[in-house]
Subunit: 401 residues, 2 copies
């Protein structure tokens, strides 16, 4: 596939608009009673109407057989090979609570846990303490001062928190303190490279100070850290494609991912209608829009087949507002499958459609897993979406003469 | 995909014949009134008959979404990854006027242009002077003598010419003098690597001597140079596949490309009938034939849908002569799409079919974009054509035991 350095040379700006609608966890599996997937069960006349004018297919976000996490699923759709570009657990956790990381910051995912008198872990999640209690403890740890580094400890949900270290010369090449099982002591954090020695000292000092502050506060009397990571070096969407990109997402993690690849994060409100209203308000100012629809994935993970069908129908009802804008290129796809029957992300390829004046439509007249199989794009890697979007927007020059 | 070093080891010569018919700009888009593409609109019983006995599919010449120039489109079909093998603008221009480049030669694309009294470019194409006037000016510049280098200045069309420098130790790693916009002075040609210093001096000396000779010859009173390049290092078709290849093309650029990959260029005449007559005359002497049909692309670029349909029909009528030879492997495809509705090369994948005794035919009974979608090859990179041709010609040994 064409690389960033080569495609950069042939990208050009133009007034045409690209809208990328990501329906999280879109793909599904047949219901055992009806033999129909969630998409096949939903009444979705607008999606089907788009399919009729589109070139359809099925995407593999990471690689066939591989179940994508949310980050790799989105990276792939944005054009970044997720096998090459990696976002660490700590950074992802920070993105999930809308924390903006600066270059050089390092972030770790933290758990409050329970240790016994010998320091042996008896519960890795401290009995899932309440988020309120978590917030109180985080304020306590947030006051820890270590020379030369600014420390932030921010609550996530239940027992989870984020540790952020900011300072000169820090390195995220650190091992975990979390041994990921009970019956062991928390591990000493190791430097995985010589330049991470000082960062390891700081992290271990933080853990030891946290242990003192939490002493007696059973069940949350200790912390476990893992996934130390820094802001990844990712060339931005505007740098590669000369686009002016914006994102409309209701969940922090997706806003964070969008920000990470250089998109402007627009207000999103709470519903898909709010999101599309925001799209309308900002339509003139940008030429690429990423719209993230979350509830299909959430209902899929709940294992609630019917609720996922309803989420698709809710989205479908909102689509006329989007179609009214008549974007030059409209792409509808998902970041991965979340079949309600599995109640988790899955490896199944995801329905895809691209509508544009120049898309060479195929014979597909319905937006579903099975119908897309016969689509003009066939089955293809999600990383090919961006070049295809650019081509259909007539924003790509010819490659060589 | 298998690389040259690996496939080399399993190629063997045999008497079987491969014919590769490239219909330039073959792929199209539906006509807005009929919903049918050029191929779908054409009456082409011979192409359809071949499709019936073939394995069909759609090729991506460069990469999905990428619009190929003529050179990368052909390189891919000949088995060379166009993202890896690059032919410079200057070399391509030289090929286009049937100039044979030797290893070590460097070529640049030249424009006659107009500059004002301050040397500022006022017209990059000197008002598109006539080809005749161009030829007169080229003869003038062709006489420029610089020590240690042989200079050729050859007219192309209107304002375009080719500069060829031949001599020891030249390097094509040179910047352009053409700033690609008016209102600026021509740039000094820079050496892009230390070993190109002398070449840069020679090129700048040429420009300064040309400026003196052209003084007062408004509108063509200056030259602009770009795309300095040398003959690329490409292993030949015979070296890789042990083939004895020949080309029958009516346009110089395609003859040049064929020569570049080591094909013998045969007389072609002017029409497809002439070309196929030449094929008949030389059929015994070679085992691989590249036949290039140009007018489909030309009519597509004109934006003349009906004329492109007629070009396809003209080709179709000539095919019985080709089929009469009963080649062991017959491949029909294009180097890229040129939809008449877009009136330019495009990124859309190109119909492909391969007929041989051993091809495992699919259910496709018509040669068109939509029909080929359901073909046994699916959608695939054009670089896979050569191994497939070799296999069907039974010219490939088993890979490992």
């Amino acid at each position: 596939m064409i690389g960033f350095e080569q495609i950069k040379k042939i990208c050009r700006t133009s007034p045409s608009k690209i809208v990328l609608l990501v329906i999280d966890g879109l793909g599904g599996l047949p219901h055992p009673e009806t033999g129909k997937t969630e998409l096949e069960s939903a009444t979705s006349p607008n999606l089907n109407r788009i399919a009729k004018d589109s070139i359809c297919g099925l995407i593999d976000p990471v690689s066939p057989g591989i179940t994508p996490g949310s980050a790799p699923g989105h990276l792939a759709i944005f054009g970044y090979d997720p096998l090459q570009y990696h976002i660490g657990r700590g950074v992802l956790e920070a993105l999930g609570i809308d924390v903006e990381l600066k270059a050089g910051d390092i972030a770790a995912r933290g758990n409050f846990c329970t240790v016994d008198d010998e320091g042996i872990i008896t519960h890795r999640r401290a009995g899932r303490i309440s988020t309120d209690k978590n917030a109180v403890l985080c304020r306590l740890l947030d006051d820890i001062g270590i020379e030369g580094v600014e420390i932030s400890v921010l609550p996530v949900k239940e027992h989870r928190f984020v540790l952020i270290l900011r300072g000169k010369g820090l390195s995220p090449e650190l091992g975990d303190s979390d041994p990921q099982q009970i019956g062991l002591s928390p591990k000493k954090i190791e430097a995985l490279s010589p330049q991470a020695e000082r960062s390891a000292e700081i992290a271990n000092e933080f853990v030891s100070r946290a242990a003192s502050l939490l002493q007696g506060k059973t069940p949350a009397n200790m912390v476990l850290l893992r996934g130390f990571s820094g802001r990844p070096h990712i060339p931005s969407v505007s740098e590669i494609y000369k686009l002016k990109p914006a994102a409309v997402a209701t969940y922090p993690m997706y806003r964070g991912l969008a920000r990470l690849v250089g998109m402007k994060v627009l207000p999103a409100g709470e519903s898909i209608t709010d999101q599309l209203n925001s799209l309308h308000r900002h339509y003139a100012k940008y030429d690429f829009f990423f719209i993230h629809f979350k509830s299909t994935d959430a209902r899929g993970e709940d294992g609630d087949f019917q609720a996922k069908v309803q989420a698709i129908e809710e989205l479908d009802k909102a689509l006329p507002s989007l179609l009214g804008l008549e974007p030059d290129v409209l792409i509808v796809t998902g970041d991965h499958s979340t079949p309600a029957t599995l109640a988790m992300h899955s490896w199944h390829p995801v329905p895809f459609m691209l509508k544009s004046k120049w898309c060479r439509p195929d014979n597909v007249t319905e937006f579903s897993e099975r119908a897309c199989l016969a689509g003009g794009m066939g089955r293809f890697p999600a990383t090919e979406i961006m070049p295809l979007a650019m081509a259909n927007a007539l924003k790509l020059d010819k490659f060589d003469a």
